[in-house]
Subunit: 134 residues, 2 copies
Amino acid sequence: MSVGHTAVTAEPVVSCGEDHDDCGIRDILDRVGDKWSVLVIVALAQGVHRFRELQRAVPGISQRMLTLTVRRLERDGLVSRTVHPTVPPRVDYELTPMGHSLTHLLRSLADWSADHRTAIAESRRRWDATTPAT
Amino acid sequence: MSVGHTAVTAEPVVSCGEDHDDCGIRDILDRVGDKWSVLVIVALAQGVHRFRELQRAVPGISQRMLTLTVRRLERDGLVSRTVHPTVPPRVDYELTPMGHSLTHLLRSLADWSADHRTAIAESRRRWDATTPAT
């Protein structure tokens, strides 16, 4: 993705030009919009976890999906993985400083969600009651 | 010897119990994590759009996907649709106040993304260079 599309609007929501592909929001949404990634980051915001602890902290995640998710987060530099040379080896997962910087956003998302879930549910009820199925 | 797993942080990222299903974050991620929804909200943050204008403002979206996306956002109460009784009818789409309240979060996401895209790209490069493919 190329950098350097600086928009000229007074206060754009996203500081990029017409082509939204270039502003990086899609890329970050791939990560932030992934439920498992978010739930793993949320769990790790509480502190260091081993693999099994992480699995318990994220109900419903399979071992394979957790493995994939932490690898992807590690590749992105959001999670670090430390192997301790014990027998058997102990593996700790924790957020990197960059991962920690994302937790504030996730908190805002969760807060917005909590503040608006009732309004959204009501809107959906009204919509479903008044809109004929197509 | 053992690090001690500090699970007792003062400020939890998400203020919900063990069961993350209950804190609503998954539900809102279904909306916020959907790229097309986000890009439509981002476009509408600039002002009222007609359907064709919206389609131009979100490059790559198909007519069918745009129809689905605005219907879903309308159902959620994030977007309102006004049909003007002209010939042919003019249909305007705009954000509701609740939709507007989400744009601040999306701006934060975009800002975070812009601030960290280089670091993430570098982390991925390092990872790909040092991690054997599995």
